[in-house]
Amino acid sequence: MVALLAKELEWIDVQYWFSIFNDWSLVYVILPFFVFELIRYTVLKRMTMDLIKDSIANAITFVAFVSIEYILGILAVTKLYFWVHEHVSLPHLPLNWITIICCILLADFAYYWDHRMMHRIGIGWATHAVHHSSPHFNMSVAYRFGPMDAIFPILFSIPIVMLGFDPILVLLSEVFVQVFQTLLHTEVIKKFPKPIEYIFNTPSHHRVHHGSNRQYWDKNYAGMLIIWDRMLGTFEPEVEEVRYGIDKPVDSTNPITIFLHGLQRLVKQMKKTEGIGNKLKLLIKPPGWEPK
């Protein structure tokens, strides 16, 4: 078994399998599922113009996010990641199943901490609040991104490259985690059997994460495995019905307003806060922090 898992693989095969999940899942799972959700909204008489506009706004924020990601990608991936891999990395790991599985798990763990940081520091929340600002919960919300959502993950993926993992494998693993996360944005699936709910992040756990109910704040940061939350003290089960959104709603379906509202609020708060030190602290202190 170990010999099989340690057997060297070819890049072309690995990229092929990743593309099946990372790239093509949009066609064979995500879009069909979103259509199903729209039908469900219609049947339940919950289909509103606000929901349609909100979904369109989500798609537009995604385009803006991808544009930023693409520009950063050229810089970070081809230059920084490869430089780190070449100069400040442990011995390079061979391409085999053990490396791939461990890389995906590390990418998932990095996602947990990246996500937790985005919730717990002012500048992180200024961008990530965009994702949480929708009052709805469906597949399109998974594509609702903020302007700096592409920047913070780099801080957490570089250490994985430093551990000897190939930069391309790290990127493919990050996308793998992100696609898994996308599939959790639904109200259609209630709960899975207990063993699955115990180990994996599920729609139920992620609904909690999107809840504006006080007990659901800053819980269930996981990407794929909910065990990270269980181990690190941030797990909360879905009990009370979830109210989606943030405590101060955006009340807009304008994609530009949505995309920039977090940063606008942060800048506004910085302007009215006295002292350079306090203004800077707003960037790194938890959201809602005020100087004494």
């Binding site: 072309i12 442990l90 011995p91 790991l93 890389c103 551990l163 990270w228 690190l232």
Partner: protein, 170 residues
Amino acid sequence: MSNTKLFFISIGIIALLAGVPHITANLSYANTTEIVETPKEKIISEVTEAEPFEEEETINESPFLGKWRASFNYDGTMGYMIVRITSKKGKMVGHIIAYEDDLGNSEGAKDLVLQFKKEKKSGWSAIYTTEYENETYQIPCTVKLLSPSQLQLSYDYYGFSDIETWTKEK
């Protein structure tokens, strides 16, 4: 949960997930026979073509088979590589058999550079083995014939894209 506890739990998880592949990689290397790495000096000398390959099975008369000349730029050194594409057990592979400079000086080599995988409408999908900053990369590429004496190799690998044209040697 205290920050210290969070820190140590996280370090433990990272050590486990990074340690397992490193340990298995080391064990795998230990189990294989000793590999002696030949330093790949790119200094052009006066050596002529490397010793010929063993006779290899030729299953068909593919127009790709034979010797090809391709230019290269390695750390600012311009030159040519001579690639021999052969067929063995139904699979075509290309080996660099010599490096040459503009003056015709050459150095022998025997490095795998191209592995043909699958024939497609647009040409052959293949793996192109190349070096960049002392690191070897295996890049998925497409190889197609432009004419009986010209071969085009193209790739787009995470921002690195190029189209090479190789010419057939007589």
